[in-house]
């Protein structure tokens, strides 16, 4: 992998308007999902039916951009055919790559559609070059998305020891756990990111004004309680306030977004192939704002890596759409751990 290669900007498309917005604002690729449990953002009102997907692919391809399909949940024996049908449909539609997590499904895709490009989803939980090379040797994956758990030095180690392109998360909601290995949502609600494609799903959420404040519950479990001056957040269970040894705090993670913009020169230097923006559940306005800033930053770093600086105006724009209006470098920055 050459270090001078251009980093691709991979943007979220939760809907057709979001897809068009991402393309119009400079995304190199968009990623999307079908309206079912085959993808890890299986939320009501989100995602694409077949007609919308065809239209989205045509829109992107007419502008020489790519469309990636997330098929990144784990099929069960009973619903296996639904997942293979999704792979078949994607190939038929002329998708540029499918993003998979399940090895069985990868084997199916590699055998049935040898021309179809395979990416390893972050849901595949591959955190080392040994794991990534396993998927490369067995199924010919060409890109892997890293979970948000490695430091910059560890990412560099992975990039240097695999022929597979490496994609990292650049901006958006921060998943603190190794994706694909988190059953917290399943424990609380019975629905899991792995199998149902949803974390802390909306149908289990309850908001209740009480004398103690606004309470947010997930399947009856109190996730957080907010005072009058506080803005009540969505009850994502790892971002709630809990008590440990009689101390109440964000015991796992604050509601904050990942933002690695200031690390772009470093990501470019170590040879990262693509940056992923999280947020298929967010609005087209979010997609526009974030894509615009990252397009500008990526163009700047390609033109002048040594002179690159994350402009305060960019950071301010991104903070406006960040969770809790704040951001973190997450695990890329060692002290975060």
């Amino acid at each position: 992998m050459t270090q001078s290669q251009r980093i691709e900007l991979v943007c979220p498309a939760g809907s057709l308007p979001a897809l068009k917005t991402a393309i119009d604002h400079g995304a190199d690729c968009v990623y999307l999902g079908f309206k079912d449990a085959t993808n890890a953002r299986n939320f009501t009102g989100l995602n694409f039916d077949p007609a919308q997907m065809r239209e989205g692919i045509a829109y992107a391809h007419a502008r020489r951009r790519k469309v990636l399909l997330a098929l990144n949940t784990y099929p069960q024996s009973a619903n296996w055919a639904g997942w293979t049908a999704a792979v078949d449909r994607a190939a038929e539609f002329g998708i540029d790559a499918v993003i998979l997590a399940d090895p069985g499904l990868m084997a199916y895709a590699a055998k049935t559609h040898p021309q179809l490009r395979l990416h390893l989803s972050v849901q595949g939980s591959a955190t080392s070059y040994e794991a990534i090379n396993f998927y490369h040797e067995r199924f010919g994956i060409q890109r892997a998305v890293l979970p948000r758990v490695l430091s910059m030095a560890q990412v560099e180690q992975v990039v240097g020891r695999t022929p597979v392109e490496i994609e990292v998360f650049g901006f958006g909601g921060l998943c603190v756990m190794v994706e694909g290995r988190c059953a917290l949502s399943a424990y609380a609600t019975g629905e899991s990111p792995n199998c149902n494609g949803a974390c802390s799903p909306g149908k289990h959420v309850r908001w209740e004004q009480t004398p103690q404040g606004m309470e947010t519950r997930l399947n009856g479990i109190l996730i957080d309680r907010f005072g009058e001056q506080e803005r009540a957040g969505y009850p994502t269970l790892c971002k709630g306030r809990f008590e440990v040894n009689d101390e109440t705090y964000y015991a796992i993670e604050e509601p904050t977004s990942l933002n690695t913009l200031e690390m772009l020169p470093e990501l470019a230097r170590i040879g990262v192939a693509a940056i992923k923006i999280e947020g298929r559940q967010r609005s087209p306005a979010y997609v526009a704002q974030v894509t615009k800033v990252w397009r500008a930053a990526l163009d700047r770093v390609a033109a002048d890596p040594a002179g690159f600086q994350a402009l305060p105006a960019w950071m301010a724009e991104l903070n406006k759409v960040s969770e809790g209006q704040s951001h973190t470098l997450g695990a890329y920055y060692r002290p975060w751990k």
Binding site: Q76, A107, S128, E130, R225, F242, A251, K337
Partner: protein, 298 residues
């Protein structure tokens, strides 16, 4: 049905660990998983120590298995993994695809597909069997019905192990939540988890025990137990796994053995063991429900 002891998930002082396994040597477990699977900073026992414990248990007639780390982050994690895979004497439980690759590459045909490998369908399991897996430890979140479906669809059966008892390992992170609780960075954690025998309980703001912080691992606060569901498991699995806890592990093992042998009624065993558990029981995952629930089929 065989009983296995899962890997020790907590960080206990060296002597406590050695004493614990010495006490397991004549207990009615058939299989013992050894090794550090949670955090590479935990060094009370190193691989050579684990190998000694394994030899002692093997001499006592147990099958000793070396379990690999669930989250591989650094080159030194891989180095440890290569040493575990490279030792020829004991079977290895692969808890990450890096381990699967190394085991297959080494030509090992005797390894165990661990519970963190995300095996949810017969196609994926078939690939692992082809790569040399001869036992499958099922992810705790998989229901009994889904497990039965996978097994029925396999062309050749594989020995199967179900998580039968213990706090549920639910998630792994790069971040150490124990260090965070003490306002320390992970790189300089002062090994605060050392000696917290059952992890730190995380409660909701109503005081309800919800999760357990165990370093980089998050577990359930409730104790998953299938003591009341044993008749349904027979036919679905050949091995039941018991996860070690700070106290009463041996007594729990005895309850399972006695129930499986028909010497103790399931309801009585469940009631008696409840007093020996660090928290309330749950079994929802087995029934395809939220894991936190204690479900009694109608």
């Amino acid at each position: 049905m065989k009983l296995s002891l899962g890997p020790l998930l907590y960080y206990w002082p060296r002597q406590s660990v050695l004493d614990f396994y010495a006490g397991i040597a004549d207990s009615p477990v058939d299989i013992v998983h050894l090794g550090e699977t949670v955090c590479s900073r935990r060094h009370e026992l190193r691989l050579d120590d684990w190998l000694e414990v394994a030899a002692m248990l093997a001499d006592a007639g147990k099958e000793a298995v070396l379990s690999t780390q669930s989250l591989i982050e650094s080159e030194s994690d891989l180095k440890t993994l290569r040493r575990v895979v490279g030792q020829p004497r004991f079977r290895v439980e692969a808890n990450d695809m890096a381990a699967v690759r190394l085991l297959a590459e080494a030509g090992r045909r005797d390894w165990i597909a661990g519970p963190t490998l995300n095996v949810f369908n017969p196609h994926t399991l078939g690939l692992l069997i082809e790569a040399g897996a001869t036992r499958w430890a099922v992810a705790p979140e998989m229901s009994g019905a889904a497990l039965a479906e996978v097994r029925a669809a396999l062309p050749t059966p594989i020995e199967t192990e179900v998580f039968g008892y213990g706090r549920l390992p639910l998630a792994h992170s790069a971040r150490c939540f124990t260090a965070r609780h003490y306002n320390l960075q992970k790189d300089n954690c002062e090994f605060r988890c050392l000696g917290i025998a059952d992890g730190l309980v995380l409660r909701t703001r109503e005081g309800e025990p919800f999760l357990t912080l165990n370093g980089v691992q998050t577990q359930s606060a409730k104790v998953h137990t299938l003591l009341g569901d044993l008749s349904a498991i027979e036919g679905c699995a050949e091995i039941l796994r018991i996860s070690p806890q700070g106290s009463h592990t041996r007594a729990i093992v005895e309850h399972f053995r006695a129930t499986l042998d028909g010497r103790e009624a399931p309801a009585e065993a469940l009631a008696a063991s409840t007093g020996q558990m660090p928290a309330a029981p749950c079994n929802g995952f087995w029934h395809g429900r939220p894991g936190v629930e204690q479900f009694v089929p109608a």
